[in-house]
Symmetry: C2
Subunit: 353 residues, 2 copies
DNA sequence: ATGAAAGCGCTAACAT
DNA sequence: ATGTTAGCGCTTTCAT
């Protein structure tokens, strides 16, 4: 018995050699069998799998990554995990990735300064992620730059970059937003306000832009002061609504850049004794689970979270696989689209008159 | 120029040899410098760090893990990421772990069947996690068993296991629950109901138990039908409240096993035209961010999330470090405690009559 | 204090 | 179709 196998025998941890000797084959055959490559004969394959099962063996991913250069880890960076939209998104992404044999490296902390970005990039680089989904919905170009520089495939939401390694997911906010505006107009609203998200987020800017074009298309006149800055948080929504309440010419409906903002609005309205939807209609965006349970349940523009996660994963996988192809320079799909659609609940009604 | 360095030169990726040759030292010295070990002379150390910076070098964690057997990855498994309590917990844990140079392997999917548990265990084992925080707040003994069998340090909430590799975090629900009950009694409530969590969760059982002993201590008579099963979800809370509403002798206050349940109760009360807090007082547990924005803002028993994350990390770190100590069998701290405290908002008031 | 050299467990040439 | 062997980038004896 060689020193190698005696070491294994003592620790109890089977390695590829343990399997090989039990199955009476070479380690190469074990490796091939596991990786399903280059037709190992049925007979040996069976012996190998039997040995694997018998030993309860599984490969050491670190050794594997080291030699193959492939970590099978995907990074995902989101902002503000206190917005339930993101956990739901991560859960979907995780499910899909794990089903395909990938592990996730999640960065969920708030990104505020350069040092934090540096940390994220470092974590991703050190663990050798094969691709990163940047679902902060905007900004943080610096994250991108660094990662792109290192040749790591990226997928971004709502932001196109002229780089073959960077894919984009376009979210069709226009459709959902148009439905929302038409819904309000159909109810008789003429004065519609908008609580915007941070200007640093591409998605927030797109959402605002869709609001403006939808209202314009409906022939609605939106006063400047009806478009108020908020920040996608509960408190921000509350504060934004309070500013709206101070206006002479008050809107009868408010569309919010996300559901968190809308929940803040509901709160502010309640404090101001303003009844929703009788005296004020409120529309959110995202359709997080909580919207069914707000008082009243929130009408909102639903974003297909699962589709978004799926698109992000697919984008990355296509990139990763293209990278290891022989014909590396064949054009690949780099643009994906996700839909939105209005979900009518009970926070919208005809204006009082 | 050797074939090695020419490869590096072409890919641009510096490795330990690149650093060594630039600093004119051996790779062993580079390794020692990076790991801060066995006093490398100031002079060489400086040269090495300079080279590292100049090359923007960082070590390959896979290679490192392979040889050292230490992955610097910690697993964390939570249930039901749609409950905002868990994302907040993960974010805290991540922040602490990353600050200490650990990476996180998160499993956030719902754990429902044996296959899913198998998957989680496999993921953890394959990536060679050094410890796992099981913050599902109960059950899933099977996860534990498998991980323990493989000698992986574990930390659990509310569940003690007689194994030197398993630590426990005890949450002092008694204090917060007593405060809540006393608060209600002080307001004049005599009929207090309880919406319980799943019986499979140790934490839910502890919470229920604390409710029972607190009310007993206050001399409250709790009718059997006032203790209703729920499941820690919004819908479950709503359904539970609806059952309470059908009772002849209705309670004037409800304490819920968690905030999600309480938000469901608020919803059910609203549907039944029951005003909170005038006609019904509601108390939650966890103090998730949303509770400030429910209508009305929710009185709840706050659980020190950050302390919990901290305790979980410390427990694991102590285990990991003890494992690599020479005196491996010295006793280590295996029990931790986290506090709870009532946060009074506006969902509680004196009963009507 | 520093360096040389032996692997960590695996994959991928290369041989047969 | 299967086996042999040379590393992947690093840590860690063992020399010096």
């Amino acid at each position: 018995m060689s020193p190698r196998s005696s070491r294994n025998a003592s620790t109890g941890k089977p390695d590829i050699r343990t399997v090989a000797s039990l199955a009476r084959v070479s380690i190469a055959t074990v490796s091939r069998t596991i990786n399903g490559s280059s037709a190992v004969s049925e007979k040996l394959s069976k012996r190998v799998w039997k040995a694997i099962e018998q030993l309860n063996y599984f490969p050491n991913t670190h050794a594997r990554s080291l030699v193959s250069g492939r970590s099978r880890i995907l990074g995902i960076v989101v902002e503000n995990i206190t917005n339930p939209f993101f956990p739901e998104l991560i859960a979907s992404f995780e499910e899909i990735a794990v089903a395909h044999g990938y592990e996730l490296l999640v960065s969920s902390g708030n990104i505020q300064n350069a040092a934090q970005i540096e940390t994220i990039v470092r974590r991703m680089l050190e663990r050798k992620v094969e691709g990163v989904a940047v679902l902060t919905f905007g900004s943080e170009e610096s994250v991108l730059d660094q990662l792109v520089t290192h040749g790591i495939p990226l997928v971004l939401a709502e932001f196109e970059v002229n780089n073959p390694r960077v894919s984009t997911i376009l979210i069709d906010y226009a459709t959902g937003m148009r439905e929302a505006v038409e819904h309000l107009v159909g109810l008789g609203h003429k004065k519609v306000a908008y609580l915007a998200g941070p200007h640093t987020l591409h998605s927030a800017e797109t959402r605002l832009h869709c609001f403006e074009s939808s209202t314009a298309a409906c022939g609605l006149k939106i006063r400047r002061e009806w478009i108020v800055d908020a920040d996608h948080t509960l408190k921000g929504g509350e504060a934004g609504m309070q500013r709206l309440l101070q206006l002479e010419d008050r809107p009868t409906a408010v569309i919010c850049s996300n559901d968190m903002t809308a929940i803040g609005v509901l709160h502010a309205a309640h404090l101001a004794q303003l009844r929703v939807p009788e005296e004020l209609s409120v529309v959110g965006l995202d359709d997080i689970a909580f919207t069914e349970f707000t008082l009243p349940p929130l009408t909102t523009i639903g974003l297909a979270r699962h589709d978004l996660a799926r698109a992000a994963f697919d984008a990355l996988r296509i990139q990763v696989e293209a990278g290891s192809q022989p014909g590396e320079f064949a054009p690949i799909q780099r643009s994906f689209e996700v839909s939105t659609a209005l979900v009518v609940r009970q926070s919208t009604a005809a204006p009082k008159s």
